[in-house]
Amino acid sequence: MKKRPFFGGIHPKYNKEMSLGVTDFHMITPKQVVIPLLQHIGAPCQSLVAVGDKVLKGQKIGDGEGLCVPVHASVSGTVVAIEPRPHTSGRMVNAIVIDNDCQDTEIEFSPITAPLETLEQDQILHAIREAGIVGMGGAAFPGNVKALSAMGNVDTLIANACECEPYITADDSLLRTTPEQVLEGMTILRHVLKPNRVVLAVEDNKAAAIEKIRNIIGDYPGIELAVLPTRYPQGAEKQLIQALTGREVQPGKLPVSVGCAVFNVSTYAAIFRAVRWGKPLTERIVTISGEAIAQPQNFIVRIGTPFHDLIEVAGGLNEKTERVISGGPMMGFAQSDLSVPVIKATNSILCLLRDRNGAAENPVCLRCGKCVGVCPMRLQPLYMYRFVNAGRLDEMNRLNLMDCIECGSCAFTCPGKLPLVETFRKGKQMIREANAK
């Protein structure tokens, strides 16, 4: 038997074919966009515009100090409000609201056209920052900061196209349509980081994308394509590093500690557009899928487009829709307000009917131990669940509760339908509060 490249994991029903049908993307023109001033991990931006100002598409409208990257207008038009608005995280976040004049009057872009070898690393990092690039796989860590911390410390540069969450085909679509942008982006970061190994990782359920890459990868010597057997959560950073290099990131440490830097493929494409076209991050590919949406598909979406605009263009929601999720079905966030905008890290809007296998009225742990077998972090969810419910901090720490990456493999597998991930979040909060004292 072939050795599993990472521990545990599950095989959910992927349902990716639903959203794959449409390959020429629609570009949606919303009447109004909502650009949150916080779309990354770190400090929020300060607004650079005032209500009533005219803005151009691509114009920088928010920026800040410290761990912060700017945000840009994704349409041309007039700023009509700067106020707290619902955000996919579930909180209210200050946002710049722009009425679209539908002219798409753009700023003048300043691409870097000089050959790569002649470029300074700082020059590239600056371009990445000014374009507002964050990790687009979901974590939204500022791209330039991650690249800076990796300089001189990594021997392996990884492009993550695993897209292991069911339903989502955004990265898949990107690779099927513009794989050269991804490979160019990888070439640029290779120039900055000087790793020994540069590898593009794809799961083997994306045959069309793999073929596209194979057709052109010869033009990019030194970039390796790794086709991995599909298994969730392969796209989780620690699991992907383990699968590709055999290295395990220590608890509480970052990938840099084992000489790896991982960026999502969408991020590489955005880096390419930022450096070579001078374009800021104002649009991205978003999958809209699920049994509750009429026409599942992928869109190129302006950052700031409200969810309901996209849902409308995709044919609307089934009246029995139970949840709308930002992100994937395993780790995404359920939304209550569909006026929330697409942000830089939004890869999917998922519309689901009631899950027939959903939560039980009376969840009971059978002690079947399946959760232990599927946990990619090698934890013991059944005991963690008991001890969080008992409020036992000592046991939670002994069981390394903080190592949990909340991938949901345990809860997916649990026959007793225990609310495992929810309980672990509570437990982590208890530990954090205890440590803060």
């Binding site: 620690k238 220590q250 709308v324 780790m331 972090m377 013991q380």
Partner: protein
């Protein structure tokens, strides 16, 4: 439209409690069939009484204590069925009924119900019956003739001597014994079904049967070592115990190494009790004793922490 805001994951697998329990019931059917075929309809009656007693106890307990009704998860059916498998078909009906009530009320419900009990309900009930009605539990009759009492293969092995039955007879179930333990073949079919359906892993049964095999091969008492080993595996309740009893979720470890260790412990104790105990069979007490150690075993066989080697060094 009211949207639900709940924690991830938003999709779940189709693995459910009642499905697992039904799979166990299905897996036990071959053994039950052999029991009824060889021992007669009384075996079926005993089984039905055990199942009815268990299900009724489960239902009435939830009514009386006003706790949630768990009858529908089918776990009581499994408990009743497993208890019946361990009983001789000649056991008085009322003793079978007492056993099933004891299993559900005392061993399971009072410990907190499904998944909370420390001891395997069927085996604890059998141990209880052995204690207070030793005659009813240890008298076996010859196949087909209920009035004539017969020695089971295990009785011969205590002598020690090889049983009268051929190995093939023992494998197929042509020998006296408890209702569910006659045919190793029927039990193995059930075991394979459970493994294929991913209800159990093979770790506990293999570790259990493997350790019994190794020990009886080394410390054989009659015949050739191989014969002694095969008779040891095919006689008594080892197969039933290793496949259906020791793999009970609530009372077995959840970690991979824990399951292996636990299986070995069950096997070693079974042989020790058979060789040195006052009863010919040791399976019941071997598993019950190991049940008590499950939490400790799980604690000391926790998987290696991700990113940390044993001793805390970087992996």
């Amino acid at each position: 439209m009211k949207l639900t805001v709940a924690s991830s994951p938003h999709i779940r697998g189709n693995f459910r409690t009642y499905r697992i329990m039904l799979d166990v019931v299905i897996a036990l059917l071959p053994a039950l069939f052999v029991g009824v075929w060889m021992l007669g309809l009384r075996a079926l009656m005993v089984t039905l009484i055990c199942v009815a007693g268990a299900v009724a106890s489960e239902y009435l307990y939830s009514i009386i204590t006003k706790t949630r009704n768990t009858t529908l998860d089918c776990s009581a059916i499994v408990t009743g069925l497993l208890l019946a498998m361990t009983l001789p078909h000649t056991v008085p009906y009322w003793q079978a009924a007492v056993g099933s009530v004891f299993a559900i009320i005392i061993v399971k419900a009072l410990c907190g119900g499904l998944g909370q009990n420390i001891f395997n309900p069927a085996l604890a009930a059998r141990a209880f019956l052995m204690l207070i009605y030793p005659v009813g539990l240890t008298r076996y009759s010859a196949l087909g003739v209920d009035a004539v009492s017969a020695a089971t293969p295990l009785h011969h092995m205590v002598m020690p001597a090889l049983p009268e039955e051929s190995l093939l007879d023992m494998f197929l179930g042509r020998c006296p014994g408890s209702i569910g333990e006659l045919s190793a073949l029927a039990l193995l079919i059930g075991g394979v079904y459970l493994v294929i359906r991913k209800v159990i892993s093979i770790r506990i049964p293999v570790a259990y049967l493997g350790s019994v095999a190794v020990l009886t091969l080394i410390f054989h008492k009659a015949g050739s070592p191989l014969e002694w080993m095969l008779y040891s595996l095919l006689s008594g309740g080892v197969m039933l115990g290793a496949i259906f009893m020791a793999t009970d979720y609530a009372t077995s470890p959840a970690t991979a190494w824990g399951q292996i260790l636990y299986g070995i412990g069950c096997g070693v104790l079974t042989v020790v009790f058979r060789y040195y105990g006052i009863f010919p069979e040791g399976v019941t007490y071997a598993i019950l004793l190991m049940n008590a150690l499950v939490w400790v075993i799980d604690r000391y066989t926790a998987p290696r922490r991700f990113g940390v080697k044993k001793g805390g060094v970087k992996a």
